[in-house]
Amino acid sequence: MTAATVSPAHRRGIGLRVRDQKAATAGVVIIAAFGLLAVLADVIAPSSVQQQVGPVFGRPSADHLLGLDDSGADMLGLVLVGTRVSMLVGLASTVIAVALGGVVGVVAGYFGGRVDAVLMRLTDVFLVVPILPLMIVVAALWGPSVGHAILIIGLLSWTPTARVMRSQVLSTRERAFVRRAKALGASHLRVIWHHVFPRVRGLLVANSVIVLASAIFFEAALAFLGLESVSTTSWGTLIANAFNRAASSAGAWWAFVPPGACIALMVLACSLVAMSLEDVGSARVPESHIFAGRLEVIRSDGQ
């Protein structure tokens, strides 16, 4: 028989499964690689990436692995250089949005009543502001710039997070264990931080991935709508250039596939990390009561 004995030490710690570690590692490696590229872009790619080196929409070749863009510049170099702005805008505005949305959502859901009403109306107002048109107006007022893009995206995309968090907190705070903690006399901060937040943390992480994706997405959208300063090279502006110059009709898939793939890869990497983070969280969630696997029946005769 497989009578198992476990030393208590085994049970402590968080214990990621190997696959998760791989995924997390892969994610971290990709992000780090992009980060490194962003930092070293100038070194790796010559400062003159925008220089024309061949015909418009030149095909990929040994010299130019990703072909040339609509100005005959090397796509590989452009994509490398574009990493910087895209990373900056995506990450910076996500931090702003998730922090804001998390705090507003948790506070509103937890305290309820008037606090909730006020915060939710505020959220409503922010929620109804159509973000893209507003960005366009702001870009027109203050001129397009990366800093403005970060601020606008960050300050306008916290609302979904806030709403999702609130609704989750709303039902969590009714749970007996939360009420027990309140009955203990724990401060609100403590109840929130130790009981409510851990329950909604997974959702927040899942959500921040959503926000990150939408931040990078908004950067690309702003560029797409011509609201990124022209001298900026970002994944978004590369896609926008390709679109404006009918790359698809020109058969130049290489002009828009790589930057789009970079966006996808970048967000995917973040999600890999987030997913394994979430798994750390959900390893703490008790087992599902129904599940795909069947019960394991050990046959005594088989052993």
């Binding site: 925008q50 220089q51 024309q52 015909p55 418009v56 929409f57 609509d70 100005s71 005959g72 870009a139 027109a140 001129g143 397009p144 011509g226 300063s229 022209v230 001298s231 250039n241 679109f243 404006n244 110059r245 009918a246 790359a247 698809s248 009709s249 020109a250 058969g251 130049a252």
Partner: protein, 528 residues
């Protein structure tokens, strides 16, 4: 051939010519509001015009069968078609034409401002008989016939009630199902999406060969070209040059890549309020900048080779008006640098030149809709960097761009350079007019104001024939010498058609860009 029934897949939607465009759309069906190319093209086919241009850019009769010039050019008398009818059955007579012209004149500072250039110097029009029209001018006017070739004749019985007083109601009239009398009538219209036309049986002129035609408007070039490939379209206008090489490979398509009128220019702020960078007013600096811009390479990169260089604001396609002596300054980086060096503008550590301790770093404005933008801008920025000039380029939508150019009280403050594009009709007046002092705060985006130049402009507008040509060329010379703007390149007009039937003269008509389609062209087109 998806999305359409069998008959349309072998070209033409059952005798209907289907035309697509991804850069523009009809802005309004109301002639008092709509003024862009597609709106004009629509008016040209649904409304009667007194005169029109033929394929060789000559003015010929339309509703007017004959034209007589009298009184030293101050009076024009036309005999018009007899027995013509509006599409609602009411008679179309010279009285309609007289009413229209008089109304445009009366409201030229208000509701009919878009037509103001075309009614210059008109005193009044009158229709002594149903087939006779007389138009009186205060002075002999060079652009008289060009103007009348640009004025649609509107049915008086429809528009008269709205034109009362200051004509305030005119602007908000949708004109969704226009009462018309041209070769075609509008049968179906959805704003921003499409317009369908069918032949108008009561047309006074020769019946068109097509059963009908239509415009479909796209927001993306790729969507339009995809529709062309999937046989949903017969003709695509304003095709981006980058797509040309692929389209050429398709044997069933004909690419028409012809000289166009759309000119991209780099302009300097000539306003006296621009005093921060006074060196930009020095002709030598402008000269250096002109030398440093490699226009050939611009055309290669921005237009994939589909364009022409020019040294003047009147595009070479207008052969009889363009001054061939004013050619584009050839690219010469060494001389440009030498010129700047000789002026003592040494390069700083960052490679940027300084003038009196201030870097040659300039703010450049451009509208995102300019042809070739933003690529043309980034190229110019790159090229100027090679002579140690730094440019901070800012794009915006067109209205904002204008706003920024004019500045408060039309003082043209706070910018140094701009890049924009323009295209006018066959007559040179538009190209010249734009840089006159009277257009400050209007078409004049460089704040250029020169008395000599204005005088030349005024002179040519009263001249005709070879005399006028000479003055127009002189004006170009003067302008090129002052260099308030540097023409970058003239974009070709590119359209692609399915090889179906006979689409005449597409190859030579720059009108493809101006009005998308001339009436003669559509009248003679056949398909199937």
């Amino acid at each position: 051939g998806c999305g359409s029934d069998g008959s349309s897949s072998n070209g033409g939607g059952a005798g209907v010519l289907r035309i697509g465009d991804a850069s523009s759309k009809i802005d309004s069906l109301n002639p008092f509001v709509g003024h862009n190319g597609f709106a004009t093209a629509t008016f040209r086919v649904i409304y009667p015009y007194l005169l029109q241009y033929d394929q060789s850019q000559n003015i010929v009769g339309d509703f007017a069968k004959t034209t007589a010039v009298a009184d030293g050019g101050k009076t024009l008398t036309f005999t018009t078609h007899d027995g013509a009818k509006w599409s609602d059955g009411k008679p179309l007579t010279a009285a309609d034409a007289a009413w229209t012209i008089n109304t445009f004149v009366r409201l030229k500072d208000g509701a009919a401002a878009t037509f103001a250039p075309y009614v210059t110097n008109i005193v009044k029009a009158s229709a002594p008989t149903p087939t006779t029209l007389t138009v009186e001018y205060s002075t002999p006017t060079a652009t008289a016939q060009d103007g009348l070739a640009s004025l649609p004749i509107l049915p008086e019985h429809i528009w008269e009630p709205m034109a009362a007083g200051r004509g305030e109601q005119l602007a908000s009239f949708a004109n969704a199902s226009p009462v018309s009398a041209g070769p075609f009538k509008l049968t179906q219209y959805t704003e921003n999406q499409f317009a369908n036309f069918a032949t108008y049986k009561g047309y006074y002129g020769p019946a068109p060969k097509l059963k009908g035609f239509g415009f479909q408007f796209f927001t993306s070039n790729d969507a339009m070209l995809s529709a062309l490939r999937s046989h949903e379209l017969d003709v695509a206008y304003e095709v981006p040059p980058t797509a040309v090489s692929q389209l050429k490979d398709d044997k069933s398509l004909t690419v028409n890549n012809v000289a166009g009128l759309d000119t991209d220019v780099l302009g300097f702020n000539s306003s006296s309020f621009q005093d921060e960078h006074s060196e930009l007013k020095d002709l030598r600096v402008r000269q250096a900048i002109d030398l440093a811009i490699d226009k050939k390479s611009l055309i290669d990169v921005v237009a994939d080779g589909s364009g022409m260089t020019t040294g003047t604001m009147v595009p070479p396609a207008l052969k009889q008006w363009n001054n061939p002596a004013v050619a584009a300054t050839p690219f010469d980086l060494a001389s440009a640098n030498a010129l700047l060096d000789s002026m003592g503008f040494a390069r700083g550590a960052d490679g940027i030149r300084t003038v009196n301790g201030r870097p040659m770093s300039y703010k450049l404005l451009f509208p995102s809709v300019a042809t070739g933008a933003p690529r043309v801008v980034t190229e110019v920025v790159k090229q100027l960097a090679a002579i140690g000039i730094k440019v901070d380029a800012r794009s915006s939508d067109f209205p904002t761009f204008l706003q920024a150019i004019y500045g408060p009280e039309n003082h043209y403050r706070n910018w140094d350079m701009m890049i924009t594009d323009y295209a006018f009709g066959y007559d040179p007046s538009g190209y010249l007019f734009s840089w006159t002092c009277s257009q400050l705060g209007g078409n004049n985006l460089a704040a250029y104001c020169d008395r000599d130049y204005d005088e030349l402009f005024a002179r040519q507008s009263t001249q005709t024939g070879a005399e006028r040509v000479k003055t127009v060329q002189q004006a170009q010379l003067r302008f090129a010498h002052e260099k308030p703007v540097i023409p970058l390149y003239v974009a070709n007009a590119i359209s692609v058609a399915r090889s179906i039937g006979n689409l005449p003269e597409m190859t030579s008509s720059p009108l493809v860009v101006v009005n998308y389609m001339s009436k003669t062209w559509i009248e003679q087109a056949t398909i199937g």
